[in-house]
Structures are given as C-alpha cells and as structure tokens.
C-alpha cells in the first residue's frame, strides 16, 4: 500500500448494520471497514449475506439499523441513485448488463452520471484494460460470452470514475484462465487507477491472495477478519472454503 495518495484512512465504514427482507434478518449487525487504496474481500457460503451487504451499501435494500459512512458522509438513508454519484460504483451480482444495447451503449450508460468531458479518456482506459470490449463495441451485449459480459460490467462500472468499486462475484461461471485475467485487471485498477475495491467472492483462494484484507461472513455475521494471506493460512478457512476448491 505504498502507492496511496493519502495515509491509510477509512473510506467506507459499515457499523452495526442490520438489513431485513421482510421478516428475514439477512444481516445481523455487520462491522466492516474499507481503507483508502485497499482491496477488501468478503467471502462466505451461499446465502451468507454477501450480496445483501454490497447492496445495502448502495441503498437497496436500506439498512434497518446501523450506519454506513463513505468518505465521512453518512449515506445510510440516501437513495441508490444518489449514493452512486458520490464515487461508488457497483458491478452487481449476475452482471446485469443491458442485453439489448450494444457494448458501446452499455459503456456510455456507465458514464451517465459524470461529466462527459472525461468520456474519451475513460473509454480509452477501459478498452485498454479490456481490449475485447473495443473489438465488440457494436455487438449486442446480450450476445457476448459470459466472460466478456463480466468485463463489460466491470468496464461499465469504471466509466463513472469511482473511488470505490464494489464487485459481486466477478469470477462466477468463468473458465480459470478468464478468472485469472479478471483478477489481474482488478489488481491493475487498484494499483494504477487508485480505486479502492470491495470484492465479494466464492473463489476464496484467488480473492484472499489478491486482497489486502478479508472478512468471512457466516449467516449474516462477520465470523473472522484479517489480512488476506493470514486468513489463507487459517485451518478453519482452509477446511471450509479452500480444500478441494482451488
């Protein structure tokens, strides 16, 4: 973390957050901190509440109790479309690209909420990270392969010039080679573009290797946290998330 512009300071702070879906309590008092310049990963079994936590940061659903502050501002009660203009971008679970639009139009959608002046520059950067997007720019996004769609989702999120990028399972359903490629780009975004990343992953091995710090979510609570490589060494993590599942 030597290349950070600021000394380590909390960028996103989630404290005591409870989130409900009707009567179901999906998050039961979560405390997570993300510092400037970090990659923080969130791992956990299916249904642990990882997606819910990312979505709560973005305001749909809103936290019933607790506080979320981003760069010192309380965003707990803000509507989603305002939160994302504050410097947070999200590549949601299942990618959620616009299938009927072309790749280029999808990318334009990402730049919707920011100054058009930066568009060319940002577009050049995104296509440098994912050259395939430039090659396919006039293709209907729905006809992209899964890996390409994931790259498009990340590229689209990057177009809003975020300071914090939330990624929900970017490796879902992708071939190992593509997963490696995507993780490399995430590292690149973090180092070169100074974007802080919060990464939700099933692929615990890759995620923990990449991340500075990690949190383990079990049944809506944080069960463990610590530096990525330290978590990788813990026997209980190896047993639950890693053995056989590299």
């Amino acid at each position: 973390m030597s290349n950070m512009p600021n000394p380590p300071a909390t960028m996103l702070s989630i404290s005591g957050v409870h989130t409900y879906y009707g009567n179901i309590e999906a998050l039961k008092g979560i405390d997570v901190e993300v510092n400037h310049g970090e990659i923080v990963t969130l791992i956990g079994a299916n249904g642990a509440g990882k997606t819910t936590l990312l979505m709560t940061v973005c305001g749909t659903p809103q936290a019933a109790r607790g506080h979320i502050t981003f760069e010192g501002k309380d965003i707990t009660r803000m509507p989603t479309h305002e939160i994302v203009t504050k410097g947070i971008a999200q590549s949601p679970e299942g990618r959620r690209i616009f299938p009927g639009m072309t790749v280029f139009e999808n990318i334009q959608m990402g730049a919707m909420s920011c100054d058009p002046e930066y568009f060319d520059q940002d577009y050049a950067r995104v296509t440098e990270l994912f050259p395939i997007l430039k090659e396919r720019q006039n293709q209907r996004a729905g006809t992209l392969s899964g890996g390409e769609q994931q790259m498009l989702a990340i590229g689209r999120a990057m177009m809003s010039r975020p300071r914090l990028l939330l990624l929900d399972e970017p490796s879902l359903g992708l071939a190992p080679l593509i997963v490696k490629q995507i993780f490399e780009v995430i590292a690149e975004i973090n180092q070169t573009d100074h974007v802080t990343v919060m990464l939700v992953e099933q692929n615990a091995y890759h995620a923990l290797k990449l991340a500075h710090r990690g949190y383990v979510l079990v049944n809506g609570k944080i069960a463990m946290s610590g530096p990525g490589n330290e978590l990788l060494e813990r026997p209980e993590i190896r047993a639950a998330y890693l053995e056989g599942g590299r």
């Binding site: 690209i97 299938p99 072309t102 139009e105 209907r140 392969s145």
Partner: protein, 440 residues
C-alpha cells in the same frame, strides 16, 4: 438456408389441435352467431342461424390446421438461440438499410400527396386520419416502446388534449395556436399526476391502473355535464386559422381570409389540405423529437430502464423521474394530437375516447415492432388506412382487422420491424458485422 431433415408431420397432433380450436369456436359461435334475438309480436323471440355456426367452426378448423402445418414445416422444432439471434441481426441490418431510403421517400410522398392528380378529398381525409394515429403511435412508442411502461389508458391524454382545446377556446376564446401548446402541457401534467402514484408498479399492475385511469377520465367527461357537456359533447369548436387568416368563404369586414390574402378563389379544400399539413408537421415533430431523445442521456435511460431497472439505479439513474418524464412527454404528444382532433372535427364527445382507441394505438405500436418508428407508420397505414378502405365490407371490417393482427403476430411475433437500432455506430478497424457470427 440449409434444409435439415425434419421429422414427418404428426397429423394426429395437428388434427387434435385444430379440433380443440374448432370446439372452442363452436362454443363461442353458438351464443354469438347461432342464437339471435329478434323483435316479435309480444316480446323478444329467438332466431337460429346454424349455417353461420357451421361456417365459423369449419373455417376455424381449416385455418388452424393450415396455420399449424405452416408452423411445423417452416421452423425446425428447436432453433438454437444463437442462430435466431444472428438471423435477427441480419434482419436489423436489412431494416436499417431500408429505412434510410424509405423514410425520406415517405416524407416526400406525404408532402406531395395533396398535389398528386389522384388525391381527392376522401384520400386526404383518410391520410389525415392515418397521420393522427401515426402521431399517437409515435407518442405511445416513447412510453411503451422506449421506456417499456405498458400504458393501456393512453387515450385519456388524447381526451385531455381535445377537451383542453375545446374548453379553453370556449371559455377564454383562445385561438388554436395558443391552445395547442396549452393542451399539450395540460396532458403532460395529467401524465405526471397519474405517473406519480403508479410508476412504482410494474408490468401488469401498471397496465391495469392505466386502464382504470383511462376509464375514469371518460366517465368524468360524461358526468360533469355543466363543464364538459356530458355525453352531448362540445360542438362548434373553433377551426384553426392560417396564422390568423381564417378559412372561411365569407370575408369579414376590414380583415382578410386565407383565399383573399393569397389571391386565390375560395375552395373548401384549402382547409382540408391545411389540416393535413398541420398533422403532418405535428407528427414529424414527434418523430424527430423521439429520434433526438434516443441519442440523449434521458432517452438512453428510458431504454435502459426497460431492460433492467436495478442496473439503472446502480448507475445513478433516478427511475422515478426517468419514468415520469417518459410518461409526461408521451402524454404531451397525445395532448397535441387531441387538440388537433378537436379542431378538425369541430365536435368532440366522450364517445371518441373509449378504451378501444387505446387498444388500437397500442396495437399499432406492438404490430409495428416496439420502439420502431417506421414500424408505427406501416402498422398505422395497414390498420387505419386498411380498415378505412374495407369500410365497404361493413360487418366484416372488424374481422379483417382481427385477421390482420393475427397474421402479423404469426408471421412476425415481435412486430413488423422489431429491431433496435443502436443510436451510435463506431468503426473499429477490426470490426465488421460478419465477425459477430463466430461468437455466441
């Protein structure tokens, strides 16, 4: 296309399918055609028309059979989605090329129409009617085709426009050129008022509420007798003037009319042609506005909203405002069309704004292919112009209308020109349309 070997037709299944359809036709036609109430001495009597029933059942059976055979022989049973998509791409490419040529030709034709040798008063009247529906179709296309909000009460805004014009002219003596924008603004305001509570609803629920709203407006118009004239409607609505020059035969004292100003002989056709050009201009404005909007962020947001609302929200789009704007703009265009309708007819009543109007406009949008501007034109010409030409067929006119719709839906289930034209094409050196195909 490569001819794959197909399994032989399963005649038993086909006959069974047609038999079921015929049975349904039987059940319906017994009550609808078979029994007929007639006035008799001493009350109502029942007359039977079994020959009609037989005709209906037989024609449904044969029709269904032909349809099923067509379906079975034309399409391989399982089309991989990939080939379908590339077929769609090719069709889209074709449509885009065609519309580049056809659209300007159509506009030139529309401008020249009143001066062509064969154009009579009747033809211009029909063309004016078709253009009115094209404008309404384009307006609704913003709401349904672009923003994906199913609005079954669109005619309500048409009514608001028509009544705004009539009432403003009646109570305040405003001229057409003042009333036209006001009618649009009123209709758009109604769009916002309706939109505010209902736009949180999705799909079917939104459709039902808009349907209800359409009916509410009509019922209010019928019952608010002192203000709207109730079922009697409003008559002697002022005719439009040519920027202050009226189209009347009688020349008022110390002022001029259209024909004296231009030194022409009086002809009742002047007004007809003027109205025709008025609606042509209004429709073209609607079209160019829509085409322009699609290129702007707001228009893009409408389309994105149709595809994925959650994704939109996470990209910083405010879904409520975006939907409201689509609703209000669509309503505004219906308002313009409504005030045109009022000034053309000179008389309006709630009769003209029934649900069937909403349905026809929606049919135009859906048959044309949601979101396709040229599709709306073709569908309007077919549906409105077509049914007008078939007026001679009397009671078979509606059957023709229905048959036409069924035919389109069988032949092109996504509408005549269903495709989405990207608003911007970039040219990358390594990119050709052909290179898509290798990828699925």
């Amino acid at each position: 296309m490569a001819k794959a070997t197909r399994p032989p037709l399963n005649w038993l299944a086909l006959f069974k399918e047609s038999g079921v359809a015929a049975l349904i036709a039987l059940g319906l036609s017994i009550v609808m055609f078979g029994l007929r109430t007639v006035d008799q001495q001493g009350g109502l009597g029942v007359q039977t028309r079994w020959s009609w029933v037989v005709f209906a059942v037989v024609s449904v059976f044969i029709g269904r059979l032909v349809l099923a055979i067509y379906r079975e022989t034309r399409q391989p049973p399982h089309t991989p989605s990939g080939t379908q998509d590339s077929e769609q791409n090719r069709f889209a490419e074709f449509v885009r090329k065609i519309s580049k040529v056809v659209a300007p030709l159509l506009i030139i034709f529309a401008i020249a129409l009143p001066f062509l040798p064969f154009s009579s008063r009747y033809i211009i009247d029909v063309a004016t009617l078709v253009l009115t529906y094209i404008m309404l179709g384009w307006g609704l296309n913003i709401v349904v085709g672009l923003a994906g909000l199913l609005d079954l009460g669109y005619v309500a805004f048409y009514a608001v426009g028509a009544y705004s014009y009539a009432l403003l002219a009646y109570y305040f003596d405003f001229s057409f050129w003042i009333c036209l924008p006001l009618a649009g603004i009123f209709a758009a305001t109604f769009g916002i008022i309706l939109g505010f509570p209902v736009l949180r609803l999705r799909g079917d629920y939104l459709a039902i509420v808009t349907l209800g709203f359409g009916e509410i407006i009509r019922v209010v118009l019928i019952n608010w007798y002192t203000f709207t004239g109730g079922p009697d409607g409003l008559s002697s609505i002022p005719r439009p003037s040519f920027f202050g020059l009226p189209f009347s035969r009688r020349v008022p004292e110390d002022s001029e009319t259209f024909h004296t100003f231009f030194g022409l002989d009086y002809s009742s056709m002047h007004r007809i042609i003027f109205l025709y050009f008025l609606i042509l201009a209004l429709a073209l404005i609607t079209n160019f506005f829509t085409l322009r909007m699609r290129k702007l962020p707001l228009g893009r947001a409408w389309e994105a909203l149709r595809e994925d609302e959650t994704a939109c929200r996470s990209l910083g789009i405010n879904p409520t405002n975006t939907k409201l704007s689509a609703f209000a703009i669509g309503a505004g265009f219906a308002g313009f069309a409504g005030s045109f309708f009022a000034t053309r007819q000179g008389f309006i009543s709630p009769e003209s704004f029934t649900f069937i109007e909403s349905a026809v406009i929606l049919a135009i949008v859906v048959l044309g292919g949601m979101g396709s501007q040229l599709g709306v034109v073709i569908a309007s010409i077919l549906l409105i112009g077509g049914t007008e030409l078939f007026r001679g067929l009397e009671e078979f006119r509606m059957i023709t209308f229905g048959g036409l719709m069924v035919a389109v839906m069988v032949w092109k289930p996504r509408g005549l020109l269903a495709h989405r034209d990207p608003t911007l094409r970039l040219h990358a050196p390594s990119h050709t349309p052909e290179s898509h195909k290798s990828n699925t």
